[in-house]
Amino acid sequence: MTDAKTEPLLSVRDLVVEFPTRRGVLRALDRVSFDIMPGEVLGMVGESGAGKSITGASIIGLIEPPGRIASGEIRLKGERIDTLGPEAMRRVRGRRIGMVFQDPLTSLNPLYTVAQQLTETIRTHIDISKGEARKRAIALLDRVGIPAAARRIDDYPHHFSGGMRQRVVIALALCAEPELVIADEPTTALDVSVQSQIIEVLKDICAERGAAVMLITHDMGVIAETADRVAVLYAGRMAEIGPVRDVITEALHPYTAGLMGSIPTLTQETDRLVQIPGAMPRLHAIPQGCAFNPRCERAFAPCRETRPDLISREGGRDVACWLYDPARTGELRDA
């Protein structure tokens, strides 16, 4: 990421996703922009309903109708993928972008063995024989940490524990060697004791293969340990993006600062969680100006009128907040 000339692997620009409903059109994402560099781990955080899963779904082209991408663009290695036809997009899914969902207990088809699901996926994307695909599948299961993979591969999903199933899911997401893996809360449904192992396996195996990861999670602790950069979503808008260390130690956006206060660390007591008063607005009642202004302690005049765009700061950081616009903070000083 130090090489400024590196092309981003994934580039999302001004993405708007809308859901037409009886009560009008809901904007689940409103001009969201971010990049993911090759091999990078980008953490994505935000409260429930902030739009994290919708962001992932738009990238792999699986927003459930009638939801749709209303404007903006998504590029993979410079090529538009949001405008691809269904068949071309199908060949991107699994092959170039892998996906890991939250609940391993429901992610696998209960009626097929792990071997059947893995070889089917591999052979959908790579032209090799059944035997060859099976060999690859066993090697991959072994790599994600399934003991006795050669034997267990012929078991059905219900023969595995939750943690083991999530390893199988990771193997399935990675079996056609995608360049980007989107992991949507991959450990939320798991036992606390196995969560860090799963994250570690995911991170290591992606690092080995040079695959980038977009890691969606509620857990700032996981982001702190795993991600290179972090993106903070609030009410369908990007609040702040930057290198993890910097964002944690010195958050720019008042919302991020509140979130960071809620990371339990070894040195802090966990009951010192800082709670931001109020709740994230519902999509049909997003306030004018900055979406965060009703909850923001530092809100001032422009916050209630105009929405702030992402402002680039030094150190590869971006923040959408009027506090960082010198022209506006002038008003603050005058007031």
Binding site: L62, G94, S107, N109, E120, H159
Partner: protein, 328 residues
């Protein structure tokens, strides 16, 4: 697996014994068997002698035991009305009913499955809506009305198809007679098969559609799509297979009711099957035929249930508990 089959077999036997008890009660207590066998002029002594020789004065339990013993040998006595062994009577007419049930069951299953899948995958299509509305009619019209309508259109007005009987039949072996081998036999099957199968077809179609829509919303289908599997693999390989367990259950049960409800269709089309036999035996209180029919229907239901259970077992690996136990 063996334990599973044995458990199911024991359950089946219990069901059959219960039905036998009802059947026996019917046989023994509805009307007086002696009255039905001898004329008005028989003396009290004659009657008493007949009672003794038939064992009707033995304790009930002994009589029930004898009833079951006889039933196991396919022995249900003599029809009061037709003076023929009941078993022979039923066997003569069983092929007609079984062929009708088989054809209409297959028809109902195949078209029900096909239309169910179509209407689920093309949920918003115009044709899907037409089919769904049409199926409401299929569910709500009574069977005899459908039969009469079909007869009126295709037999009376258009004169394309016969309205009654089995057409020409060919004997196979000592007791099976089939209508499959002659043109008139096959033509005669069409209207009754549609009449009998229409209700089951709409039921299967609505079930397949509902189950498939449900499965298509599930996480593993989302994940299958996210892995780039083709629409065909996702819809048929992954989604449809997961609807099979409920569909097999209902279809199996429906096949049982097809045979049971053949009574109405057989009456409308004058079809020489066991259903029509049952109706006439009810009219003449021909109790041995009634109780034998009851036992036969129960046996068919029990056998179908057993087959359904075994199919479950074949489709859904989660039911194979024995294996899961030793590999954690």
């Amino acid at each position: 697996m063996i334990a599973f089959i044995i458990r199911r077999l024991i359950q089946s036997i219990i069901v059959m014994v219960a039905v036998a008890a009802v059947s026996f009660a019917l046989f023994r207590f509805v009307g007086d068997p002696i009255n039905s066998m001898v004329g008005q002029e028989a003396s009290i002594d004659d009657r008493q002698a007949l009672r003794d020789s038939l064992g009707l004065n033995d304790p009930i339990i002994t009589q029930f035991g004898r009833f079951i013993g006889n039933a196991l040998q396919g022995e249900f006595g003599i029809s009061y009305r037709l003076q023929m062994p009941v078993t022979e009577l039923i066997m003569q007419r069983l092929p007609a009913t079984l062929e009708l049930a088989l054809v209409s069951g297959t028809l109902a299953f195949i078209t029900g499955l096909g239309l169910g899948v179509y209407t689920a995958l093309r949920r918003r299509g115009v044709l899907s809506n037409v089919i769904m509305t049409g199926s409401l009619i299929g569910v709500s019209l009574p069977t005899f009305l459908i039969g009469v309508l079909l007869i009126w259109v295709f037999a009376v007005e258009l004169r394309w198809l016969p309205s009654n009987g089995r057409g020409e039949v060919v004997s196979i072996g000592s007791w099976w007679s089939t209508g499959f081998l002659t043109t008139s036999g096959r033509l005669a099957l069409i209207l009754p098969a549609i009449t009998l199968g229409l209700y089951q077809m709409t039921l299967i179609m609505r079930l397949v559609r509902a189950e498939l829509l449900e499965v298509l919303r599930s996480d593993f289908i989302k994940f299958a799509r996210a892995r780039g599997l083709s629409a065909r693999a996702v819809n048929f390989g992954h989604a449809l297979k997961n609807t099979l367990v409920p569909v097999i259950t209902i279809t199996g049960l429906q096949l049982g009711s097809i045979i049971a409800f053949a009574i109405i269709t057989e009456t409308v089309f004058n079809w020489p099957g066991v259903g029509a036999l049952f109706i006439s035996s009810v009219r003449f209180v021909d109790v041995p035929v009634m109780s034998a029919y009851l036992m036969m229907i129960a046996l068919i239901f029990v056998i179908i249930n057993l087959i359904v259970d075994l199919l479950y077992y074949a489709v859904d690996p989660r039911l194979r508990v024995d294996r899961a136990a030793h590999s954690h």
